[in-house]
C-alpha cells in the first residue's frame, strides 16, 4: 500500500481520524435545532477535517477542493438558506417561517425540518469560507 500522506504515522492518524471528524461534524450539524450544536460549529469541524488533510498532506492536492469549489459550496450553502427563506414566503409564511412549509407533518416537526435545512446551509457556507480562508493564508505562505 502506498502512503499517500508522506509519513506512515501521519497517514494512519489522518486516515483514522478524518472519518470520525466528518461524522462528528455531521452529528453537530444535525443536532443544531435540538441541542447544542448547529451549522456554525458543524461547519467549522467539517472544515477542520479538510484542513487537517491539507496540513498533513501538503499543498499539492486539496482533496478536490479548489478555491472556486469551496466558494461554490459556500454560495450553495447560503443559497440553501435563502432558498428556504423564500420557500416559506412562497407558501404563505414570512421570510424564514419554516412552519409554513407544506411537509404534511405537525407544525413543530415542520419547524424542526426547516431548521435542519438552514443548519445544513449554514454548515456548508461556514465550511466553504473556512477552507477559503485557509487556502488564502496558504497561498501567502507559498508566495513567500
Amino acid at each position: 500500500m502506498k502512503f499517500r500522506f508522506g509519513s506512515p504515522v501521519l497517514d494512519t492518524a489522518v486516515r483514522l481520524l478524518t472519518p470520525f471528524i466528518l461524522l462528528f461534524a455531521a452529528y453537530v450539524v444535525a443536532h443544531g435545532h435540538y441541542s447544542p450544536g448547529g451549522g456554525f460549529q458543524g461547519g467549522v469541524i467539517l472544515a477542520a477535517a479538510l484542513i487537517l488533510v491539507n496540513l498533513v498532506h501538503g499543498r499539492d492536492v486539496r482533496w478536490g477542493l479548489r478555491p472556486s469549489t469551496s466558494l461554490s459550496i459556500a454560495a450553495a450553502g447560503l443559497a440553501l438558506y435563502v432558498g428556504i427563506g423564500f420557500l416559506a414566503i412562497a407558501f404563505g409564511g414570512t421570510f424564514l417561517d419554516y412552519g409554513a412549509l407544506p411537509l404534511g407533518l405537525p407544525p413543530p416537526q415542520v419547524r424542526a425540518v426547516g431548521t435542519f435545512g438552514i443548519e445544513v446551509g449554514v454548515g456548508m457556507a461556514v465550511m466553504g469560507v473556512m477552507v477559503l480562508l485557509f487556502d488564502a493564508l496558504m497561498a501567502w505562505e507559498q508566495s513567500r
Binding site: 459556500a74 454560495a75 443559497a79 423564500f86 409564511g93 414570512t94 421570510f95 424564514l96 417561517d97
Partner: protein
Amino acid sequence: MSAHLPVLMVVLPLAGAVVVPVVGLASARAARALALLALVLAHLCAVGALRVVLANGTWRYRLGGWAPPWGIEYVVDALAGGMAVLVSFVALLTALHARYSHEGRNPLNVATSHALHLLLAAGLLGIVVTGDAFNLYVFLEISALSAYALLAGGGARAEVAAFRYLLIGTVAASFYLLGIGYLYAATGTLNLADLAARLPQAPDAGVVGTGLALIVIGLAVKIALFPLHGWLPDAYAYAPAPTSAFVSSVMGKVGAYVVLRFLFFVFPAGGQAGRALDLLGLAAAAAIVAGSVMALAQRDLRRMLAYSSVAQTGYIMLGFGLGNAAALTGALLHVVNHAVMKACLFLSAGNLLARTGAAGVDECRGVGARLPVTMGAFGVAAVSMIGLPPAGGFFSKWYLVQGALERGAWIYVAAIVAGSALTAVYMFRVLEAAYFRPAAPSAASPPAEAANGPLFGPGEAPAGMLVPMLILALAALGLGVFNQALVDGVVAPALAGVAS
C-alpha cells in the same frame, strides 16, 4: 411578494452577494448585471415599502413568524423607509460607476467587488430596517467588514488605512455591543420597541446610563464624529472612487440614523438621552469648525472631501443635539443632501483622477475646460455643500439655523455659518483652479501611475462614469428646489411623535 418588501430589500442584495462571485467565475459581465439587478430590485422594494408605510403607518414584519420581542422583527416606519430608499439609491448609482474602477490597480476583481458592494448595501439596509438591537450589531459588522475590504481596494495606502479603520471600527462595534449588553441586563430585552417601553421602568439608572454612553461612543466612532474621526480621512481618501462615494455618503448617515433611533425613539426623552444629546451638540459644533479647517489645510482633493465629511457629519449631529422640530428636520434633510452631494463629489473626483491624473487641488488647474461635465457636476455639488440656494444644502442649513435660533443657541448658529464660510473657501479654491487658472504647463505632467491608468485620456470621461454623477448632481439641485415635498412627504412623518 409585496407583503414581504421589508425583508426582500435586505435579502435580495444579500443573496446577490452570494451568487455574484460564483457567477463571476464564469462571466464578469453577467456577475455585474446580476449585481445591478439585485440593487435595482432592492431599490424598488425600498420605494415600495416606503409608499406602503406612508399610506398605512409603521410596518412590522416578523422574521420567521416569531412574535417579538422573542423573534427578530423588521420595522419600517417613514424614517427607516426613507433611509432605505436613500441607501439603495446611492448604492445603485455608485455600483453603476463601479465598472471603471476595476480597470486600474484594484486587486479585487469585478465580481468580488460587486459582491462586496451588495453585501455593504445589504448590511446598511439591514441596519435601517431591523427592529432588534443585536441584529443591528450583526448588520453593522456586515457592512463594516465589506467596507473594509472595499476600501482596501485603492492600492498601497488604502490597505493600511483600511486596517486601521478595521481596528477602530471593531472597537467601536464592541463598545456598541457592550452597551447593548448593559441595556439587556437592565431590561431583559433586545427588541428596540420593547426597550423603549421598558427603559423608563428600568430599575438601575446607572446601568442604563453606562449602556447609553457605550452605545453613543461606539456610534460616534462609526460616524467619525470629531474628535473620534481619526480613521476617516485616510480610509476615504485612498479608496476607489465608487467605494469612497458609497461609503462616505451613506455609511456615516446610517450610523447617524442609529444615533437618532436610540436617542429619540428608544431612550425616554430628556434625562440621560438629553445629556448625551447636549454633549453630541457640542462635539458637533466643534466638528463643523475643526473639520472645515482641516479640509482647508488639505492639498489632496479627496482628503479634502474626506475632512469635509467630518464637518458635514457635524451638521447632522448638531441638528440632533438641538433636538427641536426644525433642527431635526434640518438634520434629516442634511442626511439626504449630504449623501447625494458627497457621492457626487467623490465620483467626480474619481473621474478627474482617472482621466487626468489630478489628485491635488493645485493639479486641478484648467480641468474645467477639459472635463466640463465632471467639473460641472462637482460645481453643483460644491455649491450645495456650501449651502447656497437653490441647491439642497442651503435648505438643510436653513432648518438648522432656524432650530438653533429657536433654542437661542447663538454659538451653534455661529458654528453653522462659520462652517459654511470655510466650506466656501475650500470648495471655491478647487473651482477657481479648475475654471479660472490656466492648465499647468506640460512640464508638470501627471504622476506616472495615473498616466498609466487605462482611463487616462484627453477628453471627458466615458458616459458610464458620467451618468451616475450627473443624476446625483441633478438630485442635489432637485432636493433644493423640491425640498418641501421631501420634508412634508417623508421627513415630517418620520419625525412624527419625536420632535419635542
